[in-house]
Subunit: 390 residues, 2 copies
């Protein structure tokens, strides 16, 4: 059963709507907030007073009004709070310190030796985070919390269940371990969803009602915002775009299926396909660089990848009917533009509803730090984003 | 921007939550409603008084209480209102008269000659609906409205945009035409979404938070309930499961893509595949009947279909992470059990999150009338189902 809504929850929902409206606008007045949210002028006024009192929002000059007194402009105070975002990738950890506007003010990256166990990895995270805080001379009291982005599958408690590249991390309560070690509240999500939330808070997803994020990393994942809400599915397992079947009966995937997008298009698969076709074993980075320089063999290898991505994009648009498809993550490299162009062409020539609704395809602007910035924005998102009672 | 929520909308949301809770339960007390919805006892009491006053709910005996006074049991009054549901399929129209419990009390079916234009089809719908009302001796005042289920694409006004089997029905405002001709308010949705809503109101989708409905008819469509809400996408184009690419580079689909589930598995495609492999041209109905009798060639043809459906089911579960996958529609026929078994086996051995979350696969119980009953329940759904402000 859906749950009913008692009034206290509603108040905080409206507060989050107002805060997000101010965050998304580049300066906005109380009257404009009322117009955009459908809330009454009086409700907006009460909420804005509360946000000013909490220091989250600042008054910032006035705008000319059409008659009557000039309107005061409101903006988020980016310095009102900070969050630490940690992206745990099997090969490295990336830690950012971000302000309330979602801007990373410090970043650091540490390689991880293969086979490290939870105590060593958690210690490395804590040490990296502490060094960022020291370098920024930021006292703990200014930090709202820590966000952790991990490879899935994860359960609702923040326990990892043997992700593909970390098969001995089975039933590791990583969220609880980090929270105990670091001394801040820790929120978590899978890496791809974190990246999608980061784009919503500070990137290309701002104010977009519905979008899908296709994340290309060591594996392939995804995140979804549907009707302004993060959609995670019943067991945090939605948006597994890497496990869309794009080559039925194709290469075996670690997940137990065959022909998954991830099994066909992750960096290791691109390397294997290139070697099988040409006899030359090149790294993914080298293939992407050769592609950019026009090398015919690399062009052919990348073309095979774009065909799969284009098919996946059409299926995603036909199933979710989103406004925007973002692609991002560290495995995009020099082929990013080719991926975007092939997907954009496909969704606007082959998707069922193309005549009713044009879909944008864009490269997510946050690049390789997307998941870490997204992890930091998890803290703001859980504190401030409007989430309807479910 | 998400919209804020002023209090009047909230009241009707809570009323709908209470009504749906009563509808889903087989007799329930006020205290139990409060427990299930999270609403206060006082709020539940006020809402129930309103629903009793409107005649939508009845008191129905008492249940023993754990001490204190016995609790009054509440039920929906199925006779409190009726709706007409019309399913417009290119080959026939099905019309049902359903009570508030979603039970069809009368049904009729009319074949349509190919090539009929909008005026003739609308007239046939009106005549069929009127004959049902006359047979049931039901005055117009007892009818809450008409629901119309059509093949998509549809836009938000209820205008048809050249669906595949009705390519000359382009920009036909079918909702408005029917409303003018029939004299009741007309709600609409595409056939597959209507069937999914019907299952939510009166079938296998009752109280299930998230499910996907795969609809097999002349074409293949789908419907989605995610976190208790119907998910339609930005242009009513979500859940087009028929246009999931399951055979990359495969048969050309009318939609402009290749290898769509619909292009590979709709009845006409099954007939073509059977003829190509065996040299015998059989109807879809004959192939399904032969399959049931164990005919080796038909078994092989249907096996090809189950492989595609199983791949599609894995992709759907990996993207939406639902509790339940329903399959239904007129093209299921004698192969329904084989389809269900193949999909159930696939999602529970090949979906990424199978260890965290078992997914049920079931044959939708409403059968060939699903879209028409669903169309009727559109009327109740739009009047009574909880829909959060978007």
């Amino acid at each position: 059963m859906p749950m009913g809504t008692n009034h206290p929850g509603l108040g905080s929902y409206n507060q989050a709507v107002v805060l997000e409206t101010i965050h998304a606008a580049d300066g906005i007045s109380r009257v404009q907030i009322a117009g955009r949210t459908g809330l009454t002028a009086q409700t907006v006024s009460v909420i804005v007073r509360r946000l000013l009192g909490a220091g989250l929002v600042r008054e910032h000059g006035t705008a000319p009004s059409t008659g009557g007194k000039p309107r005061t402009i409101l903006r988020i105070d980016p310095d009102a709070g900070y969050a630490i975002g940690i992206h745990f990738d099997p090969a490295e950890i990336t830690v950012v310190l971000a302000n309330l506007a979602g801007v990373p003010v410090r970043t650091c990256r540490r390689s991880l030796t293969a086979g490290l166990g939870p105590p060593s990895v958690i210690a490395a995270m804590v040490q990296a985070a502490r060094s960022l805080l020291a370098a920024a001379q930021l006292p703990d009291a200014r930090v709202l919390g820590v966000g952790l982005a991990c490879p899935g599958p994860l359960d609702a408690d923040g326990t990892m269940h043997a992700p593909p590249q970390l098969s001995d991390w089975d039933r590791v309560p990583v969220r609880a371990l980090l929270e105990e070690a670091i001394g801040f509240p820790v929120g978590f999500d899978n890496d791809a969803t974190a990246a999608a939330i980061g784009e919503r808070w500070a990137g290309a997803g701002r104010s977009v009602p519905s979008y899908a994020y296709l994340y290309l990393g060591t594996g392939i994942g995804g995140g979804l915002v549907l009707d302004h809400q993060i959609y995670r599915g019943r067991s945090l397992g939605a948006a597994e775009f890497g496990h869309l079947t794009v080559a039925p009966g194709g290469a075996e995937c670690h997940c137990g299926n065959r022909g998954c997008l991830e099994a066909e298009c992750r960096p290791a698969a691109i390397e294997a396909a290139h070697a099988a076709r040409t006899g030359h074993r090149l790294s993914h980075a080298a293939i992407c660089a050769a592609f950019l320089s026009g090398d015919a063999e690399a062009v052919e290898t990348i073309r095979g990848v774009t065909v799969r991505l284009a098919d996946a994009a059409v299926s995603i648009v036909n199933l979710f009917d989103v406004d925007l498809l973002l692609i991002g993550g560290p495995a995009m490299r020099e082929a990013a533009g080719a991926f975007r162009d092939a997907m954009a062409e496909a969704v606007n020539t082959r998707a069922v509803n193309r005549r009713l609704h044009r879909v944008r395809v864009e490269i997510a602007p946050m690049g390789a730090d997307a998941a870490a910035i997204g992890a930091a924005s998890l803290v703001f998102h859980s504190a401030y984003a409007p989430t309807l009672p479910g």
